[in-house]
């Protein structure tokens, strides 16, 4: 390497010819902030964050594009440079939805909400799946930015979630262009490009097509390289940042690509490329499929043995000994073992050894993974061991005639109904070994994931069965020991044929089966691939006189994620009082979920519900449109607020609470109170219903977390301000997220302001009502569904409540649907046609 010497920040640095100034600085461990630059990409020089001062050069060149030359003198952190960088960051932030970055309550918020909330659209960091990894947040911290100079421009670009595997929210895009450059680098012709110009410039596909129609390979590189939360892996997104990475090989097809697994708490979140280059590319199964096969709700977790007509659960040892005694009488060619090529060489060796040496049979068959299961059981076979769903469907009836059938598998199959023993197995990243690829290269498989308790890999299962039969040569403790023996015996596993066309180049050529199972039955999102049907022709809008029960008369997304739905429900409208809620089922199969009533009209027989899209059930409601019907709505439920003349009443709401305080404020005003309404929002683009609220109060105040409108801060700050100016508050109703109500209650306690807080139904989303709605009121247990929703905020044990709410977190994440959202309603269908 021919060397040059330059001086950066007073330090002599030796660099290679061809290095940029940025490269040279990095060699010396000097940090220069970057955004558009990425080690895997050619520099673009567009974000200008990496500017430096170079003696003798005019302007402030971008270090990522400026070649280092001999004798150069560079300053990376002059006052001027730092100030310019702060300006650049602030400019970026004005095009990014991050009011949380300058929120006064940020530290507490992140303490009480250790994981971001699983919202539909990302309107702030708290709703951003990328929160723990965000490069913008790092920049903001590094450059100590506590205020915005420019208000955030929320572009209101529709959320893109029709594709399999990924969600895209371009409202967060900072146009660094990393995604489109990596896509081109890896695939030649890319799926993504810069489109439009000026203010409308964004990243997208031709004509706004879905990625499935825009030749996307679903390699996920764009997701992994994006510095912000625009692009997200739908399956992994709410699990937070991985705590570990491990390199392994994918065995789903004979290419055996290198994959970098990301893991959290022993669970595989996703695969990724070990090298973001054309040579390092992987297919959708390597990127998303491996994780979804392993952490799949359909995984077998229990072993079963046949007792009379039924299969009953048992433990591993019992299943092994049952398998051994069932198979033992069939030594010789009446035994056959059927396995698949998506296994390690060690596994294939040990299965082969078991068949030949213990069972004295020559019938060891490795099926062809690419085609459907294709083994026809010969007439002589009376006992069969198989590691999957590997028998021809036409031959399924034959299974019932076997004297012994033992199946080791990961997923249920019809064949298992005829089995005598079913052993749930560990596989893929749950075990190790080696794999021979189509190019006859031997690649390591790494055990990185922790299988569920009691699950063992195929090699161990077969060793245990052999030992149980009394065989002596199966005392292996590791695949390493198996490999030694295999090598010594000269055993060879023939490489498979490289698939044509390659799944790397064509998403419609992905491997179809794993262990004989159709992968698309397990990784549901795969069904969205392949010339998928456009949403069905829009149904004719129902006539206005339509009186079907629970018909949606009007449905609007008033601000991102906040849906206001007016429903025909005369019986509820007739009786309902301020502060009450309903329990609704969106479809016959949905859970029963409480929804807040934010308005009602007795004459028209309608009630209006407000929901924040934050999880599975609220998403179901969010995706309905005008004219659709809910399956069922029950109510009104809960204790209404006590309406009387208190004197001065504060009604304050944030998020869904903005709508929820409306009927209360209206009733309090009608009862002769002086009503002060406070609306809190993270930023100006989340404010709504200002007119409606203003009309039912004497004073209307706005407070935003980023200070873009009204006071900067939260409701608690407004209440403190009111008290300070001498206002005597006789009663207050506070509705919003649990965290906000906690902050308000703390301040109210100090100032001796009475507060009634509403237990937040959306916080119980996905858990139903029972138990989850327990509230500890000065040591007394209350239930939100019967005693609530309002409770004295000064008495609530908030810490405990927040802890309980987050305890359901992971279950909810796992229940989120994985397929692309195909919206069928009128309103949504036409919105998709917008560019």
């Amino acid at each position: 390497m021919s060397e040059i010497t330059l001086k950066i920040d007073g330090i002599e640095i030796k660099a290679a010819k061809g290095d940029t100034v940025l490269d040279a600085a990095r060699r010396a461990g000097i940090r220069i902030p970057t955004l558009c630059a990425h080690p895997a990409l050619e520099p673009l020089g567009s974000c200008r964050l990496c500017i430096v001062n170079i003696e003798g050069m005019r302007g402030n060149p971008t270090s990522c594009t400026t070649p280092a030359t001999n004798g150069m003198v560079v300053h990376t952190r002059t006052e001027e440079i730092v100030e310019l960088r702060r300006e650049i960051i602030k400019l970026l932030l004005s095009n990014h939805t991050s009011p949380c970055l300058v929120c006064n309550d940020r530290t507490l918020c992140e303490k009480y909400r250790p994981r971001p909330l699983k919202a539909g659209k990302t309107t702030r960091c708290t709703f951003c799946a990328n929160r723990d990894n965000c490069e913008l947040r790092q920049l903001v911290a590094e450059y100590e930015i506590n205020d915005f100079d420019l208000p955030i421009i929320y572009k209101n670009i529709p959320l893109e979630r029709r594709d399999p595997f990924m969600d895209r929210d371009y409202n967060l895009c900072v146009l660094c262009g990393r995604c489109e450059r990596i896509c081109k680098k890896i695939h030649g012709k890319g799926t993504l490009s810069f489109i439009n110009r000026g203010e409308d410039a964004r990243i997208g596909t031709a004509f706004g097509l879905d990625h499935t129609e825009a030749d996307c390979k679903f390699c996920g590189a764009c997701i992994d390289i994006c510095p912000t939360g625009v692009l997200a892996d739908r399956f992994a997104k709410w699990h937070g940042a991985p705590d570990r990475f491990a390199e392994t090989s994918c065995v789903l097809c004979p290419l055996g690509c290198r994959v970098r697994l990301s893991l959290k708490e022993g669970k595989v979140l996703g695969g990724g490329m070990t090298d973001l280059s054309r040579a390092g590319r992987i297919c959708a199964l390597g990127r998303f499929g491996l994780a979804q096969l392993l952490s799949n709700p359909r995984r077998l977790t229990a072993h079963r043995v046949r007792i009379a007509d039924g299969l009953i659960k048992t433990d591993y040892e019992d299943a092994v000994s049952e398998a051994a005694s069932r198979l033992l009488p069939f030594k010789g060619d009446s035994f056959a073992l059927l396995t698949h090529p998506q296994a390690s060489r060690e596994e294939i060796y040990i299965l082969d050894k078991f068949t030949r040496q213990v069972m004295k049979s020559k019938n060891i068959i490795i099926t062809d993974a690419a085609t459907a299961s294709n083994y026809a059981i010969p007439a002589e076979v009376k006992a069969l061991y198989m590691t999957g769903d590997l028998v021809d469907t036409a031959d399924q009836a034959r299974l019932a005639t076997l004297d012994a059938l033992v199946i080791a598998d990961l997923f249920p199959s019809a064949a298992q109904e005829a089995a005598h023993v079913v052993i749930a197995a560990a596989a893929l990243a749950e075990t190790d070994g080696t794999f021979v690829t189509a190019s006859d290269e031997i690649r390591p498989l790494t055990k990185a994931a922790v299988p569920a308790a009691g699950l063992n890999p195929d090699w161990r299962i077969i060793c245990d069965i052999a030992k149980n039969m009394g065989a002596s040569d199966f005392d292996f403790e590791s695949t390493e020991q198996i490999k030694e023996e295999m090598t010594a015996t000269g055993f060879l596993v023939a490489p498979g044929k490289a698939p044509v066309p390659s799944p790397l180049d064509n998403v419609r050529a992905l491997p179809q089966r794993y262990r004989g199972h159709l992968i698309s039955d397990i990784v549901i999102a795969l069904r969205d691939i392949g010339g998928h049907a456009k949403p069905a022709a829009s149904p004719e809008p129902a006539p206005a006189s339509d009186n079907r029960p629970f018909r949606i008369i009007e449905k609007i997304e008033v601000v991102p994620n906040t849906h206001i739905t007016t429903i025909h429900a005369p019986a509820i409208a007739e009786k309902c009082l301020p502060g009450q809620f309903v329990i609704a089922m969106v479809s016959e199969k949905s859970e029963r979920i409480p929804y807040t009533i934010c308005d009602f009209d007795r004459e028209k027989g309608s009630i209006t519900l407000v929901t924040l899209e934050l999880g599975r059930s609220s998403r179901e409601l969010a995706l309905l449109g005008t004219g659709d019907c809910l399956a069922h709505v029950a109510g009104p439920l809960g204790e209404p607020v006590e309406v009387k003349n208190y004197g001065t009443v504060v009604c304050a709401g944030g998020c869904y609470g903005v709508g929820a305080i409306f009927p209360i404020a209206r009733a309090m005003k009608e009862a002769g109170n002086r009503v002060i309404c406070i609306e809190e929002a993270s930023s100006h683009y989340l404010l709504h219903w200002q007119d409606k609220l203003s009309a039912v109060c004497d004073e209307f105040l706005i407070v935003t977390k980023d200070g873009s409108v009204g006071m900067k801060g939260g409701i608690q700050d407004v209440i403190a301000m009111l008290v300070k100016r001498g206002e005597k508050i006789d009663q207050s109703y506070i509705i919003g997220c649990t965290f906000m109500m906690m902050l308000v209650s703390r301040v109210a306690k100090e100032l001796a302001v009475p507060v009634q807080t509403a237990m937040n139904p959306i916080m119980l989303d996905g858990t139903g009502m029972c138990g989850a709605c327990r509230v500890n009121l000065d040591g007394e247990m209350k239930f939100a569904c019967v005693d609530g929703p309002f409770f004295d905020g000064l008495k609530i044990d908030w810490e405990e409540l927040i802890k309980r709410n987050s305890a359901y977190g992971m279950q909810e994440v796992e229940s989120l649907p994985q397929s692309g959202v195909r919206v069928l309603t009128l309103a949504q269908a036409c919105r998709c046609e917008n560019k």
């Binding site: 890319g190 799926t191 490009s193 810069f194 489109i195 110009r197 596909t205 031709a206 825009a214 030749d215």
Partner: protein, 155 residues
């Protein structure tokens, strides 16, 4: 000659270079009136770049359109002179009457609506054109009347 044939004829005039993209797009728009999904696919193959890149280049220039123009193509001027005379109100009115937004074509293919920076009739501000006819000194009412007759004529 069918449209595939016409497109092939256009493409045949240009070598397979990225640099020819804009002239190709211009030529296609002249012949077909707009740039369709199918033509983008063909052009992409011809110059060997992705569809999204073609679309990216095309959307960078304001002159290209991606939906066929209506039989009556309306341009509302938003030039400075028209702007100060409340061209936005005229645009609102036209959008309301036709039920389409700027950049759209009505479902029956009758109308399409665009805005332009200046028609060159500032003396007549605010103004709009319907195909080749200029209508000046507009008010919301007048715009309604003009469109009303246009709507009627065709019935």
């Amino acid at each position: 000659m069918n449209s595939n044939g016409k497109l092939a004829e256009i493409l045949a005039q240009y070598s397979f270079e990225r640099g020819n993209l804009v002239p190709i797009l211009q030529n296609v728009q002249e012949v077909f009136g707009y740039i369709s999904r199918d033509t983008v696919g063909e052009i992409a193959n011809h110059v060997n770049v992705s569809c999204s890149d073609i679309y990216g280049v095309a959307t960078f220039y304001t002159m290209f359109r991606f939906k066929p123009v209506g039989r009556k193509h309306i341009n509302v001027c938003r030039g400075t002179a028209c702007h100060v005379k409340d061209a936005d109100q005229i645009l609102d009115q036209v959008q309301r009457v036709l039920g389409i937004n700027e950049g759209e074509t009505s479902a029956d293919g009758e109308y399409s609506l665009e805005t332009v920076a200046c028609i060159g009739c500032c003396a007549l501000a605010p103004c709009m054109t319907i195909n080749k006819d200029v209508h000046g000194r507009l008010t919301s009412k007048k715009a309604l009347k003009i469109l009303g007759t246009a709507v009627k004529e065709e019935e």
